[in-house]
Point group: C2
Chain length 398, copies 2
């Protein structure tokens, strides 16, 4: 018998996409489904960056440099400068989405059997890349009561072993929306310096901070050799399908090793690089409208949720996600029930069960993640659905 | 001290790209460099597929399905049917270039410590993906004397161990241009069935067969569960920079596991999928012109090479590569010398030393790979350079 690999068996399926068949069935029955389950914004991709592709004069769509077009990397240097990050173009590798930047980080810095600390709940696909790389995830739990603030340093110390090589953070956070404060970032710096850990910083949502100051891992002096920035244009310019990201580090040994992984896959997508380069020329005011839109949505969503009986939703400082505690027995069952057995005026809402974002089994059973990627009207209707659903859900617990 | 991973250290740098600094220096000195070192064709990307992107009506460039747009996968079913391959759309995962298809194959089917057999010389990046996956490459040597035909089955039997899980073939071949015959494919089938091995079939150059019949691994009855087809549009439509490929298998267990890796990276490039879909609608006659062009180039190149004293170049049946045996001491030194110390009428030629394509140390020292990706006039001038160079190269050995 042919057998597949152990990592192929152990690789976690997407916890977000597993409910898709139920959503499809609901739609077939004629039920309108509001998708708050996935971070696919409805914000228009800036026409100027789509036009850059339309007007590009390309005779032969050639491989680019394995690190990405030098012209694009030089443009990104300008962009990073505008957010207070000083890097050179030869400290940037253009990647196929933020996903590939995460993968390069795991493969370049960690051996099979090594451990990476991640505050949970966390972006579920970190599990997938860890599994592919043979790396073990050591979760430390953040809590909804304080809005998912960074867990105390003691909690880090407790899980650190000789195998621990890195910490992954995402700020503003997916799935919690939490924005780490300067003090929290400094605490992370101390722990990375003290225990000689890499700090992988996923900053996909940098542009969307509503309360408090954005602090990049790259802002912290003295931590330069430890930081790998994992970036993407997916959310910044609502261009998820472009698959364009960046792996940025001032650690030359890490950079040179990551470049070998980049060379093996030849080059990042060519047309997307044209979009990325044009995006740097968008006026700084470009972000005003999407940011204001997300802020209104956040305010509506959080307000509606906290008015529902038994629901608690801390106010997220950034990104476009919120985590809510619901009076339910099991978030997986509840989210499936919403699609399978519930409708309100012919409508229902699709949410992401929080269980998929925790590394510790059993956590997240009464929490869901909501992505506020729909307009205010749709969000209001989705909240009407949720409000009604919670009144009649058979597994309601208080 | 922070340290990188063992695989980051062991990852092989690109053997093709290591000479790039010497080429850049030559150009700075004003020397014209003919690039026969890399498989980047000069053939125009079909304007119709570029136009499909230009005219696409995209408001939000969204994530596609992790397996790629269903519309594109259904189109590809038609394309595969046209080359005698019967597959369903749900047996196809659209990938980021052929590279990602190769990676999915390694990660899905092989454990760290497992072995993959590859007839050498072989596409150098297989080494990179094997290293990333912790898989060991067991090369078996094919020989220039018989044009790099499939080595005898005995040679396979000799290297098979309990750790051997797969064979990788590439036909028509990069770097040799060799096209496996039906008999050779049947021999591979027998060995895979007998020893329960996967057959990874890299068919990037399917369209470019000049002598003999193209046989796909997917044409072989009884081997369906063993075959993983690794495909790409890079060479087919001269669209290397699009980064669009496909992972195709009828083995549902393998497909389902590979889908989990696909989900972790979310989706393949969106704009490239529009190109790929439009490409299936190109008339069948589209391939006539590039194929005729490559055939003329092959004939010129092989004829010129074999007229040079001490040079032997077997006639490759497909792809756009030829391997030549030269009267030199060391192909790495020779290729570097061509760029560093030689010019002929202000021109030189860049070749790929064959050493990078062999897994067995010491092989390929008197061989180079030539990619005939330039027009006839440029090829002739490049051959003039090589002919002159061989007359005066200090390391000439006969």
């Amino acid at each position: 018998m042919l057998s597949i690999s152990k990592r192929g068996e152990q690789m976690p399926p997407s916890p977000i996409r597993k409910l898709v068949p139920y959503a499809e069935a609901a739609k077939k029955r004629g039920t309108k489904v509001y998708h708050l389950n996935i971070g696919q914004p409805d914000i228009e991709t800036p026409p100027a960056i789509m036009d850059a592709v339309r007007h590009a004069d390309i005779k032969v769509l050639e491989y680019s440099h394995s690190a990405g077009n030098e012209s694009y990397r030089r443009k990104l240097v300008q962009y990073y400068k505008s957010v207070g990050i000083e890097v050179n173009y030869d400290q940037i590798i253009i990647t196929t989405g933020g996903s590939e930047a995460i993968m390069f980080g795991f493969f370049t810095c960690l051996n099979p059997g090594d451990e990476v600390i991640i505050p949970e709940p966390f972006y579920a696909n970190y599990n997938g890349f860890a599994c592919a790389a043979g790396v073990n995830v050591a979760p430390i739990t953040s809590h909804i009561e304080n809005g998912f603030a960074l867990p105390p340093i003691d909690d880090f110390e407790k899980v650190i072993t000789s195998k621990t090589k890195a910490v992954i953070i995402c700020s503003p956070n997916n799935p919690t929306g939490y924005l780490y404060s300067k003090e929290e970032m400094l605490a992370l710096k101390e722990i990375c310096l003290k225990h000689n850990l890499y700090l992988f910083s996923d900053e996909a949502y940098r542009e969307f901070c509503y309360d408090g100051e954005y602090v990049s891992a790259m802002h912290m002096e003295g931590l330069e050799q430890h930081v790998v920035l994992m970036d993407t244009i997916s959310k910044r310019y609502s261009a998820c399908g472009a698959r364009l990201g960046a792996f940025v580090t001032k650690n030359k040994t890490v950079y040179d090793a990551a470049m070998k992984f980049a060379q093996a896959r030849l080059s990042p997508p060519g047309l997307a690089q044209i979009m990325g380069e044009a995006a740097v020329d968008l006026p700084a005011s470009y972000f005003d409208a999407p940011k204001a839109e997300y802020l209104s949505r956040r305010n509506l969503l959080v307000s509606r949720l906290n008015k529902m009986k038994g629901v608690f939703c801390p106010n997220p400082g950034g990104a476009f996600y919120a985590m809510a505690q619901l009076p339910i027995d099991d978030s997986d069952q509840f989210c499936q029930w919403l699609l399978e057995s519930f409708s309100h005026n012919g409508q229902t809402v699709m949410l992401a069960p929080a269980t998929g974002f925790y590394g510790t089994a059993g956590l997240g059973k009464n929490e869901v993640r909501l992505a506020y990627v729909l307009n205010l009207d749709a969000l209001n209707k989705a909240m009407d659905c949720l409000e009604q659903a919670l009144k009649i859900y058979p597994g309601r617990i208080n």
